[in-house]
Amino acid sequence: MSVSKEEVLHIAALSRLNLTDKELEKYTTDLSNIVNYANELANIDIEGVKPTAHILDIKNVFRKDEVEGSYDREKILQNAPTKAAGCITVPKVVE
């Protein structure tokens, strides 16, 4: 296995996902297979090759700093799971 169960648990925690024991088994196998496949890139000579993040030759796209209309608060809140007093509510984070 190129990816260990411990690693899968670690990345699941980073990804904010819970895994059952069965899922842990399955994802460990799957991720190992995929990572093994991806390891074919290890043999390519990339000495001096610049990485590409983006294919278009554009940088720092600016717009004029002009005030434009935005959305109505009620409209934005309509998709919030819970709300109160015009705000989205969340569980208490400070004791």
Binding site: N18, D30, L31, L41, L56, I88
Partner: protein, 486 residues
């Protein structure tokens, strides 16, 4: 002939010349949908009421002698990862099952401005992650050519809607082949434009450096008409290119004499079904007979595209899907102790298996200790793949390649082994890695009657060239005239 079976161009003309009313057109398409939807499952949401209302408004305008736009009164379907104001946009995920956008994607605004009527939203793989539409949380979409087979994916619903005459055209999105591969599986025309030609504003992000909105249509001419409407700069998408708007129908010349068409022989040698290979070879022969010059090209790094793709796409996905935390919108778990718990339970309940797999893979390749070995290395290989194409386009005007290595497979056949499913994208992924335009058009059938597509790839922002070659191929072959018996 029923109205629903006409092409986009013909129905638009019939509406404009008042041979038919928009209501008659809507009646025809919706009755077709009523008849076939239960079997095929192309749509997630139908927007019938709004469609008729819009139709009435347009008809009034038309009757008053006003212009109703290039697509005036033409019913179109939209993939369910493209935001529609006031209409649920689910990404076929439990996470966004009840999500109602408060704005339109730019492409939807553009379509509506030209008088198109939205029929509904189409099914897809969850968050566009998949090649068969099987990862949809909402429903199963079946291939109209054989309902035991998948339609391809991720834009399976859009492909089926067009192939079964349940829409005159549809929008999809293509991150690694999600338009071209289902177009090939369903025998319709699927176009993935150059990265930046069409605004991504309002497209729910999967992998932002690869995602591109494109079209499904019944033929190449309709594809050009759709592209005319959706292409163009958008200040709301900073990666949208400043390209002058063009009339792509001017490119529809039945002539490819002396066009140099590149064939990447070595790349198409292995892992391809024999019948698909045969159809591909026949396609090359057709091009040659039509006067094109076949040149042999090397795409040495193309074989690394898939590995590169699954590193870059999942890395971007893990970041893009970080926003689904159960707080502002989307699914929130009812069961939690504290905030971290809320995040974890909401995401665990809201995402399906494939989405979780890709989020975790992306998190892995970006994590400390692996970043250089995977993510950064993949970005360097991306550069090599782009350079390969640049060199190829010095020798040829377009590249011809199969769209997918196989025809549509049966449900469940590839869903137990993710890697096997990923391999279906081997011929489509390089185009996204390089950001080039690609088109898949019908090019044959296998011995079981399942469709085979052929793909053309062209240089950046040369969609006219792509459309001309595809149009010529289509005009000189019969495959596009054969319809599924559904």
């Amino acid at each position: 002939m029923d109205l629903y079976s006409l092409s986009l161009k013909d129905i638009a003309q019939k509406i404009k010349s008042k041979q038919v009313t928009i209501k008659e057109v809507l009646d025809s398409v919706y009755s077709r949908i009523d008849e076939k939807e239960e079997v095929l499952g192309a749509y997630v949401t139908l927007t019938k009421e709004a469609a008729y209302k819009k139709g009435e408004e347009l008809q009034k305008k038309l009757d008053a002698g006003e212009a109703i736009g290039a697509l005036g009164g033409v019913p179109i379907a939209i993939k369910d990862n493209i935001c529609t104001d006031g209409v649920k946009t689910t990404c076929a995920s439990r996470m966004l099952e009840d999500f109602v956008p408060i704005y339109n994607a730019t492409v939807v605004d553009r379509l509506e401005k030209q008088g198109a009527i939205i029929l509904g939203k189409t099914n897809m793989d969850e968050f566009a992650m998949g090649s068969s539409t099987e990862t949809s949380y909402i429903k199963k979409t079946k291939n109209a050519w054989n309902t035991e087979h998948v339609p391809g994916g991720s834009s399976g619903g859009s492909a089926v809607a067009v192939s079964a005459d349940m829409a005159y055209a549809a929008l999809g999105s293509d991150t690694g082949g999600s338009i071209r591969q289902p177009a090939s599986y369903c025998s319709v025309v699927g176009l993935k434009p150059t990265y930046g030609l069409v605004s991504r504003y309002g497209l729910i992000a999967y992998a932002s450096s690869l995602d591109q909105i494109g079209t499904f249509a019944k033929n190449v001419e309709d594809t050009a008409l759709m592209l005319n409407v959706i292409a163009g700069h958008d200040k709301k998408d900073t990666t949208s290119a400043c390209i002058k708007e063009k009339d792509y129908t001017k490119a529809l010349l039945n002539d490819i004499k002396n066009k140099r068409i590149g064939v990447p022989d070595a790349f198409v040698k292995d892992g391809i079904n024999e019948e698909v290979k045969q159809a591909y070879d026949n396609g090359i022969k057709t091009l040659e007979d039509l006067g094109a010059k076949i040149v042999h090209i090397d795409l040495d790094y193309a074989k690394y595209s898939l590995a590169t793709y699954y590193i870059i796409a999942t890395a971007e996905a893990s970041s893009n899907l970080g926003r689904y935390d159960g707080i502002r919108y989307g699914h929130r778990s009812e069961d939690f102790e504290d905030l971290i718990d809320l995040y974890k339970n909401s995401r665990t309940e809201g995402f399906g298996e494939e989405v979780k797999r890709r989020i975790m893979l992306g998190t892995y390749v970006l994590s400390s200790g692996y970043y250089d070995a995977y993510y950064k290395r993949a970005q360097c290989v991306r550069t090599l793949i782009i350079e390969d194409f640049k060199k190829a386009f010095e020798k040829c005007d377009a590249i011809v390649i199969p769209t997918a290595p196989h025809t549509a497979f049966k449900f469940g056949e590839k869903s137990t082994n993710p890697l096997e499913m990923y391999l279906e994208d081997i011929y489509t992924v390089p185009v996204n890695i390089a950001g080039l335009p690609g088109i898949s058009i019908p090019a044959g059938f296998d011995s079981k009657g399942m469709p085979i597509g052929i793909q053309f790839i062209s240089n950046y922002f040369t969609e006219e060239n792509l459309l001309q070659i595809a149009y010529t191929f289509e005009q000189n072959t019969e495959f596009n005239n054969i319809k599924p018996n559904i």
